[in-house]
Symmetry: C2
């Protein structure tokens, strides 16, 4: 049994941290140990909440306030960041912890930044595995935070039970800035900064988004009134408890109607296929395959062999190599 | 030697048509015959021109007029359509031929619609192979026509020596409708319908696009003045000869500077890798792989196995199966 397993299950945050570092490693022996550890985890469930918000919307302040509120209710909260852009600059370890200073010192909370030096596909696998580690460590809520960049929102939605969009108060024109596909994934739209001078704008923005959500097809897995748009203020705390109530109402309804488990099952199938495809393609990155690929690629570029014929030969070669 | 080879090389259009039907087939014995036929083709080159234009821009009329003009110059012209949307409705055989009535009756021309019942990836492979068949059959120009839908323009650009964008006269605001990525691929922008009452608008549109092209980074493989925007009228024939002169000027320059062959070599490498990846992933569609996939997928959905573990087992299984 892995030495990390017992402290991890006890909820030890250092063990959790070390386990995540283990699953982030690409070293083959680490990978083997990670797979064994993941297979030995007990079957615990947290509520997985995907949270997306563009820079400037006050996402860190929101997570601070929302996460702290949840811990005051006796819940343990883990925050995982999925920011593919930050991987280029080598991660944002300092960034994430200083952005959420109160929460990072809270013993009932755990914050983990985006793994550094990872591709989007790699971030996806590691984040899913980190979620399972957080669940095994007894966390009740796992917030998976992402910025609105490229495909990261879809990735996060595909590993979450709930997908929450945090938006800033804005004029009607700016509604268009949120892509239809993102809106369709949202279970809850929170319009932040609903305080002070921005309160009237925030209320109008909520009405605008509520209208836009009504135009989208209602999903059969949702009760009346969902997806919904509400106003919150991370600064004053206004609306946070009510937003949490909305999340639990929606989750309870989905559990009762089988949609919660159904969604997790569909997600697990999806990730199985995604890993399988990635694994197959990874064969082309192995050293001897690469050498052969280079030679065939040169022959194709020189016009000595058709692309299709070269591909057939390489595929035969890959089959023979495993004998 | 394949019985189609000799008549194909002689330029027989019925043999060409049958050869394209052969490469479009997914039957394993047909596929084997197709690969052998493709490998036996002589090394002839046509100018491959990718042509994109949204519906309503007068693309068929343009191809009729432009193609006819080329045949009058003694050139043989093949037209291949890549319209992924038409594959859903089961091809557009009647459509393409009635759209280009004069050209379809011209003995120096050959028109082939999008293969029916094909995915975008499948359309790509078949179109590339059809291009090689047209070249072997002695055609001088292969027009690869596509509609501005999804990824089809990128696909077509990746198999063309020149990429031409056919646009309608429009107000400045509508310039925005052409995505920057598409503009960056264009070697030549033709503003059609530069005749009658639309002539002033067409001229203004040309100026607008010329300005937009100047803002894009000049490509090292291009001589001064390219990429360029010019006015044409498929209805009156105005500008068609001059557009062909532009195409040959650009092509000659690229040939002299090695960019023509360099581009074809890069494209061949690209398609080799694309076919290789598709071939690897196709292993998951084989009957016994599918059965095993179904069982593992069920176990993953039921929470009995982690997605990563199931993927590892399936990958091992795929390796063993080829022994």
């Amino acid at each position: 049994m892995d030495e990390l397993l017992e402290p991890l299950i006890r909820g030890d945050r250092r063990a959790l941290s070390r386990a995540i570092t283990l699953i982030e490693s690409t070293r083959p022996d680490h990978r083997e140990r990670a797979i064994a550890l993941l297979s030995a985890l007990p079957d615990r469930q947290a509520l997985r909440i995907g949270l997306s918000g563009t820079p400037g919307v006050g996402k860190s302040t929101f997570i601070e306030a929302f996460g702290t509120m949840l811990t005051e209710r006796g819940l343990r909260v883990a925050v995982l960041a999925v920011d593919p852009s930050s991987t280029r600059s080598g991660g944002s370890i300092l960034g994430d912890k200083t952005r959420m200073e109160t929460l990072s010192r809270n013993p009932a909370a755990f914050i983990r930044p985006t793994p550094s030096n990872a591709q989007l596909g790699g971030v996806a696998r590691r984040t899913r595995e980190a979620i399972r580690l957080c669940e095994a460590a007894g966390f009740d809520v796992v917030l998976i935070e992402t910025v609105g960049v490229g495909q990261s929102e879809t990735l996060v939605a595909e590993m979450s039970d709930l997908f929450v969009l945090l938006l800033a108060p804005a004029g009607g024109d700016e509604l268009q800035g949120v892509k239809r596909g993102i809106m369709e994934m949202a279970d809850l739209i929170l319009v932040n900064k609903a305080d002070g001078v921005l309160l009237p704008t925030a209320r109008r923005t909520v009405a605008d988004y509520a209208g836009a959500l009504r135009l989208l097809r209602k999903r059969p897995q949702d009760p009346d009134g969902f997806p919904k748009a509400v106003a919150v203020s991370a600064a004053t705390g206004h609306g946070l408890e009510s937003a949490w109530d909305d999340m639990t109402t929606l989750t309870d309804w989905r559990r009762e109607h089988g949609h919660f488990d159904g969604n997790r099952a569909a997600q697990a199938r999806h990730w199985f296929m995604a890993e399988l495809r990635a694994g197959l393609l990874a064969r082309l990155d192995e050293a001897d395959a690469k050498a052969r690929l280079g030679r065939l690629g040169d022959a194709v570029a020189a016009g000595e062999m058709a692309p299709g014929e070269a591909a057939s030969r390489m595929l035969e070669d890959l089959s023979r190599r495993v004998d």
